[in-house]
């Protein structure tokens, strides 16, 4: 970081089904709680960056940056950033650039999505805009299908079993039970996950993060300082289409963004006390841990086994992850950063990582937070 950037306030709506709230209502709620938690006033906000993927499709609303800016009395400069399900972390990345360039001293980053009003078929089709419309969509596949193929290949390469895979969502639901902002707050045993309805074999319903409404907001500042610092913000890209990849079981964009972020923060994985990773589907969580370097290829399930059996205290998706929290797609990358900060504060840990991606790992954003002594 060229300048010291602090996370000075954050807030979110509970993720879930909010049929009685508009995109603007959700943004206003998250904004209000972020502002009231922060030492800054509304007039301190120099710029607004909104992360959103599906606004045109689900709400006939683009131009969300300016719509959010008008929630503030002075209507600061604003724009919307989109990188599919990675929109949230990319918006934070651009906020860092505005702060480091000194074009702004305090930036509001707001992620919002309202997905539950559309039919499941329509949402599945809309989400396929995150894949390649020329190379992927004509096959008729949807995202559960893409990750179904990935899971099938992973099982073939590494011998992962269906019952083992169920430990991933079981651990996430165990954690989500404690999170008042989570969409689903009940523990679910692995056996129930293994028996839930088939979606895209081998993936079952409880391997898939849900369709959700919600908003998350954070305020980053160089003017106000708090002990919660953003130490690194890195982004990497891969091909959008899985047909152009040498492997289905590793996402190189995660490797690149994570390596760069650790280097920027000048820490190693061993220093990390809290991790939020992008478990849009259970199989993704395993691949992410391997790409980030927490496990060798094919061995990440060991981490979930250990957490499930109480043998590991690793703070991994303690929020409940996308599976239990819900996944209002563009809000997720922002919510992850908020959750990492909460965990660092609650457990007096020093460093945490938020890992967010779009598509099948095509765009990856990684942020490192530090709770300064």
């Amino acid at each position: 970081m060229q300048r010291a950037i602090s996370l000075i306030g954050s807030g979110q709506t509970r993720f879930g089904e909010w049929w009685d709230k508009s995109l603007r209502d959700l943004m206003a709620e998250a904004l209000d709680s972020a502002l009231s938690a922060s030492p800054a006033t509304a007039l301190d906000i120099d710029a607004v960056i909104v992360a959103n993927m599906l606004g045109e499709f689900t709400n006939a609303q683009a131009h969300l940056g300016t719509l959010a800016s008008a929630l503030l009395p002075h209507r600061p400069p604003a724009l919307r950033v989109e990188a599919a399900c990675g929109s949230g972390s990319l918006a934070v990345h651009m906020a860092c650039a505005l702060l480091e360039s000194n074009r702004a001293q305090s930036v509001l980053v707001l992620g919002v999505e309202k997905m539950t009003d559309a039919s499941q078929e329509d949402i599945a089709s809309a989400l396929m805009a995150a894949a390649d419309a020329e190379l992927d969509r004509p096959s008729g596949i949807t995202f559960p299908g893409i990750f179904g193929l990935i899971a099938r290949r992973y099982m073939h390469e590494y011998g992962l079993t269906r019952d083992e895979l169920s430990l991933v969502s079981a651990v996430h639901h165990m954690h989500g039970k404690e999170n008042p902002y989570a969409q689903f707050r009940s523990a679910i045993p692995p056996e129930t996950i293994s028996k839930s309805p088939l979606i895209a074999d081998p993936l079952r319903l409880l391997d898939c993060s849900p369709i959700s409404d919600g908003a998350a907001a954070l305020i980053l500042s160089t003017k106000y300082q708090t002990p919660m610092r953003l130490l690194a913000s890195q982004v990497a890209s891969d091909t959008v289409s899985i047909t152009e990849r040498p492997s289905l079981t590793s996402f190189p964009a995660t490797k690149e963004a994570c390596e760069k972020a650790l280097r920027e923060a000048e820490i190693s994985l061993d220093d990390v006390g809290a991790v939020e990773t992008h478990d849009c589907f259970s199989i993704a969580a395993l691949i992410n841990l391997e790409d980030m370097g927490f496990a060798n290829p094919g061995e990440a399930i060991r981490i979930y086994k250990d957490i499930h059996e109480g043998k590991s205290t690793m703070r991994l998706n303690r929020s409940g992850g996308l599976k239990a929290c819900g996944h209002p797609v563009a809000a997720t990358g922002i919510k992850q950063i908020i959750d990492v900060a909460k965990q660092l504060q609650a457990h007096e840990e020093r460093y945490g990582i938020a890992h967010n991606f779009g598509g099948a790992g095509a765009t990856c954003g990684v942020h490192v937070l530090a709770s300064m002594p």
Copy 2:
């Protein structure tokens, strides 16, 4: 500017109807011409910012930043920026932040839109996503209607006549005739404009910029320097809904962005030798000139009269503006900067301004270019 930023390469497709080209094809064509015109190689590009508004709607494709990044061999970090028809200038603004923060030394900015495959009704509805879905859309109004109301109010306040208004598009078409990249390359006399089919009284067909396909690309760099420098990049916001505005005949975001940009560039309007302004509808061009300070309220038509009668040599929308060039919405703000640079070079002028907005002046981006001696 915190650093010296040069425009080191630019290119565009001709704007028009490209039913045989995909979004990717259009981006590749603009990218290739920008790269081949630049001292940088593909591997110099540290980041890609894509401006796009309608990709989900017209092409079932989001995630366009990463899709564009994959056109380069090393797939640099990428994202998409959207601020309705102001997306192009906002993307350039974010590129400046990346360069000023030193997160990148060369950034590719690519604006792309493919609109002509959809029906006119569907495009009119899609473009309404730039207005307020809660406050504007329920009235049934579309953007020609919004600017029709604005034109009617302007005529009421200032006595502008229908035949006077026709001079705006007549001048733009006169200029567009000379631009090989313009969608329409024929001079159109004011009488023809006054008699063209009614769209939203008082606006007629030839008051409205067309629906277009096209892409425009530019490369900004702090590593490579050319005589074409970007001196200022400023953005301002207004309410998205016209129902929340004190006046229909002035866009405060233009005033604010333009004043800030002149201040940042340390020049005055008198220094400006070339202007491209956002004439999505003829009436907008008049309001823009007044908000920018080139004319008093109600008097901008004098400038068009003088140009039409050969009494003024002001370089105003010499590209042909949105009316003659076409308006692939997110590409426009980038194309304007390219055109200002071309005019500065061709006429040995020092300073130029590109003025781009989204919605009914709800988001405004203003850039100042300088051709250094």
